[in-house]
């Protein structure tokens, strides 16, 4: 098990190296070159010259790359062209919001998707199953921002059940030791703040979780149906394993393998979705920050964020691989 984890961590290094080279070349391929990227579109020629001198952009590429990597390893990821704030700080100030949103969305998707897919598979071909299949098909095809609009319009604008924007009511005064607002409220025993933050999460999390929910339900259904008919399930049943135990230990466990892969694949999707959802709900996470960076072409921010997100993404996929080992003992041997 430990070897598997170490092996996968080892594979991370070439991936990240490759990515850093691509990102490095990317900034140099920008119209106007890296100096424009740092200074913004309206930079004067003199300023560009000065930056080129200062950062050594006129040196050979490989020297520049090594110097840049050295900076990264020291934790210096540059500063936003627009706000002059260090990118790393901006990232960590907003990351908790996005994690909070993504985790709640994922909990909704997994918590409803797996039972739904499982129940549908157990009733294969009947009304409940067909409804699930159709609903999940529709769920996949509704764009996340259109759904966000719909939810916002119906439940916030029309019915007024949930707040329509932000992470907390502006009137709410709360302390934030961790940056996870719901957790903060619980830790500091400011229950009203925790509740308020939670109500702000509901609509964005449902919008964000809908597509993964539909996909997870479909994969679970297909996987359970396939495992149900497998020879080893028949064998286990023939050997007298009681149905509840059979379903739990044999069917569900074996059916979870493709589901685990799918959940891992959803992370990238959740991230793109988070950018769109956070924009619609004015939710101040990395998503809406990224959307702003895109809008302003803030290259320093984009470069650093792409790297961070790729690292997070790779780590999640590592966790998925490790979870195979936990679910399926055969994987541990290899």
């Amino acid at each position: 098990m430990t070897r598997l984890i170490l092996q996968r961590l080892g594979l991370l290094i070439p991936t990240l190296l490759g990515l850093s080279i691509l990102l490095f070349l990317w900034v140099r391929a920008l119209p106007g070159g890296p100096a424009t990227a740092l200074l913004g579109e309206r930079a004067t020629p003199e300023a560009v010259e000065r930056i080129n001198e200062l950062y050594g952009f006129s040196r050979p590429l490989h020297e520049q790359y090594l110097a840049w990597m050295g900076q990264l390893l020291q934790g210096n990821f540059g500063a936003s062209t627009r706000t002059q704030q260090p990118v790393l700080e901006e990232f960590f100030a907003r990351f908790p919001a996005t994690i909070e949103l993504t985790v709640v969305a994922l909990v909704i998707a997994v918590g409803i998707g797996i039972p739904l897919g499982y129940v549908a598979a157990r009733h294969q071909g009947r009304f409940l199953d067909q409804t699930t299949v159709v609903a999940s098909l529709i769920g996949v095809t509704i764009p996340v921002f259109a759904l966000a609009f719909l939810l916002k319009y119906v439940f916030a604008v029309q019915l007024g059940w949930f707040p329509s924007a932000g992470r907390l009511d502006p009137s709410m005064v709360a302390t934030h030791p961790t940056g996870f607002y719901v957790l903060d409220g619980i830790l500091t025993r400011e229950w009203d703040a925790a509740w308020n933050a939670l109500t702000h999460l509901v609509l964005p999390a449902i919008a964000l979780g809908s597509i993964p929910l539909a996909i997870i339900a479909r994969i679970t259904r297909a996987s359970v149906i396939e495992v149900q008919g497998a020879d080893y399930v028949r064998t286990a049943r023939a050997k007298g394993l009681r149905p509840p135990r059979l379903r739990r230990r044999v069917v569900l466990r074996n059916a979870m393998l493709p589901v685990a892969t799918t959940i891992g694949l959803q992370v990238g999707l959740l991230l793109s979705g988070a950018v769109l959802t956070e924009t619609v709900f004015a939710f101040n996470g990395i998503g809406s920050y990224l959307a702003n960076a895109i809008f302003n072409l803030d290259y320093a921010v984009l470069q650093a964020f792409i790297l961070f997100i790729a690292i997070a993404y790779t780590l999640v996929n590592l966790a998925v691989d490790v979870s195979y080992g936990l679910i399926d003992p055969r994987m541990r041997v290899r």
């Binding site: 920008l30 098909l137 509704i142």
Partner: protein
């Protein structure tokens, strides 16, 4: 393994005309003819095909169907800050914030979506097939190198890749097409490679090589054509994804152009400020995107099922 397991097994079984097929009329028929027959019996496939057909026709006939040109603002004089006229005889779906006719803009939007969807999928298909073919045909270190590259491409979330590309070539519909296309490349590459690898060990390949055919002939005229099924299924499904992603990217403003651009994602982005005044401005483009994506998805799923011998019994 890569890609969708059921899609892959679809081919490993179909291409061998053995006793696998269960319907009498399937014996001896080519996999595509069998698939066509099964598609016609599948209500999902028919609904999907009808939606796709209507969408394509609307997109192609936009100049005939749309009451107004794409960029026209015929009702400009009737717009007030707090009031946007709804449906009327002159404007069947009402006006938008700038005085454009909503119906016309939705129709022209279909054309923009079709163009972006098809062009980006072609890029993804060609690039992915080239890489997949390289990896699947040569194996060895070429395979390893190509697959590392593919893994690298997959490790960057699609939205970020799109943003990076738009940053280099500027905010335009072209950026969106290239971005979505490039994001699809690794998916098609893995699919084709996996599909080709699954073919390699099969009897007919062995038979072809023992007849003395060159490796190139075996690969190009036997393995490749028989590996295309999952790729074609995926391409159909990708059209749905492309329409949704294109809308998302232009929603974020990566498509550039004026705020009056007749493009569904762009229209939705503009509508977010009018949610309380005229919610239809958001819902109608949203519905167009969803229905179009549904059409391609239904058809793609039905195609996958039709090519899958495991579901053939039913």
């Amino acid at each position: 393994m890569t890609g969708d397991p059921s899609a892959q097994s679809a081919l490993t079984d179909t291409v061998v005309p053995s006793g696998r097929t269960n319907k009498a009329d399937d014996v001896g028929a080519s996999q595509w003819r069998v698939a066509m027959r099964r598609l016609r019996r599948n209500p999902g496939a028919i609904i999907g095909a009808v939606i796709v057909l209507v969408f394509v026709l609307v997109a192609l006939l936009a100049p005939v169907l749309a009451p107004f040109p794409a960029e026209a603002l015929p009702g400009r004089a009737e717009i007030r800050p707090t009031f946007i006229p709804g449906p009327s005889d002159a404007y069947p779906l009402g006006l938008d914030r700038y005085g454009g006719d909503l119906l016309s803009k939705l129709i022209w939007g279909a054309r923009a979506s079709l163009l972006i969807g098809v062009l980006s999928t072609v890029i993804g298909l060609l690039g992915g097939m080239l890489l997949g073919l390289l990896a699947g045909a040569f194996g060895g270190w070429i395979d390893t190198a190509v697959m590392r590259l593919v893994d690298l491409m997959l490790s960057v979330p699609s939205l970020l890749l799109a943003v990076s590309i738009a940053a280099v070539i500027g905010q335009s519909p072209r950026a969106i097409v290239i971005a979505i296309g490039v994001v699809q490349i690794p998916i098609f590459a893995r699919l084709l490679r996996g599909s080709m690898l699954a073919q390699r060990g099969l009897d007919y390949v062995l038979a072809a090589s023992s007849l003395g055919l060159s490796r190139r002939t075996v690969t190009m005229s036997h393995v490749l054509p028989n590996s295309l099924g999952p790729v074609i299924v995926q391409a159909t499904l990708m059209l749905a994804t492309a329409v949704i992603e294109a809308a998302g990217l232009s929603f974020l403003g990566l498509g550039g152009g004026a705020p009056t651009t007749a493009e569904w994602g762009r229209m939705l982005a503009q509508a977010q400020n009018e949610l309380e005044v005229a919610p239809r401005l958001a819902f109608l483009p949203g519905a167009c995107i969803a229905i179009t994506a549904l059409g391609f998805t239904l058809f793609g799923e039905a195609l996958r099922e039709a090519l899958d011998p495991k579901t053939r019994k039913r």
